[in-house]
Symmetry: C2
Subunit: 270 residues, 2 copies
Amino acid sequence: MSVESITSLQNPRIKNLVRLRDRRPRDKQKVFPVEGFRAIRRALEQRVPILELYYAPDWFLGTNETEVIDRVAASGARLFELSKPVFAKIAYRDRPEGLLAMVDQWETTLSDLKLGTPPFLLVVESIEKPGNLGTILRSADAAGVDAVIVCDPVTDLFNPNVVRSSTGVLFAVDVAVAPSKTVLEWLRERKIRIAATTPHTRNVYTRADLTGPLAIVMGSEQHGLSGTWLDACDQPIRIPMAGQADSLNVAMATLVTLFEAVRQRGTDAY
Amino acid sequence: MSVESITSLQNPRIKNLVRLRDRRPRDKQKVFPVEGFRAIRRALEQRVPILELYYAPDWFLGTNETEVIDRVAASGARLFELSKPVFAKIAYRDRPEGLLAMVDQWETTLSDLKLGTPPFLLVVESIEKPGNLGTILRSADAAGVDAVIVCDPVTDLFNPNVVRSSTGVLFAVDVAVAPSKTVLEWLRERKIRIAATTPHTRNVYTRADLTGPLAIVMGSEQHGLSGTWLDACDQPIRIPMAGQADSLNVAMATLVTLFEAVRQRGTDAY
């Protein structure tokens, strides 16, 4: 296998990888960086095409890295071996593992989604923190939703901290990105019932009917759900909370709501 | 109010605050640092005695800081105003807010716990990541448990990242720290039933009886629960999961299990 060596911080590929931490160059080039053993292995498992792999043996934590490199090489990616300081420059983690892949962005359109019978969707509106979006993807995966629909995103799906906090689940869960109004119309056309979470209702989520064709809708960290969703929903729901009002953040509230729906729906996992 | 000014990085108080990032000096001095507006305000709300307050107006994000400083001063703490670079040195956050308090550690003994009728406890064994322990405290607070019992801790309760990720809930939730075997005996004496989470059971958590005197027990990130708990528990329980096996981490699994117990127990929050 052919490997190019990079030892200069001035190398244009290195400069570009640093630039890709920002959304605009990421979206323009239609690629994104994926760092770390677990996330890259998951990309391989999900047959996500890897364009390039950058690695630095000086940072490796174990001995499994070689196998990942071989598999990425076999898939046709270009390989680059980096010196320790050069890798440190492109790494966005505090503790680099010496592996970073460059991956193509993919289309995230509503029309590509495959729905189950009955449909079970998670919709999130304007999530601000990449860490929350990544955790929400993990929860959605564990709950077995058909897809996650990201409305009016503030953070983009291919943000390095979304990839990291999703622990690579980003590659496994179907995701669509669209404006709230488009999604609302799309759900109505398909007769999917909308359960919108808000503190301003007496309707406790465990007493709501979360069976049948369902979209659970969660709002942003700062502002909660917009009027678009609160006015249009079939049922508002809330999670009753003891203790401090802000103990559950949006990612935690999403997890609790999804698993109550799983319980009511009695899916195969049982 | 009397304020001392610190502008030297060599000031012994500054050097000591940096040292307190490590557990040993923290435990020896029986104090811990608490950083940020939200956590310090929560300490005030919970009447936790603050020994010293270090602040740097150059880092303030808003205008609420003055009120917090006044309240801390009124409580009898010593005040220190720091230059921007000196505060940057003691801050452990990426984005300092210019407020850091030094607080006394407190006793965390089993005998101090007050139990509800019936008791509802969360027990965690050997949690490794401070971020997980902090999130678990938030979940426990939201679920309204009587207390969290931390067994054989790997990370200590007063770790700066526990304080941070708990968003100050550490000051609001009753916590005891003790060895697993002591806790097990303590629970048995009180006839509190033990539900131990493990992937190695067919007993789904939503079908288990989580009412009555109950302790939910969660294991460590790497190893799950030890034999001590799995052998002794009244019922093993598991959360069924779709998707990737590791999508739910221990903090997420704790949250899901606690809220199922809350649902079954039908507490006042409903």
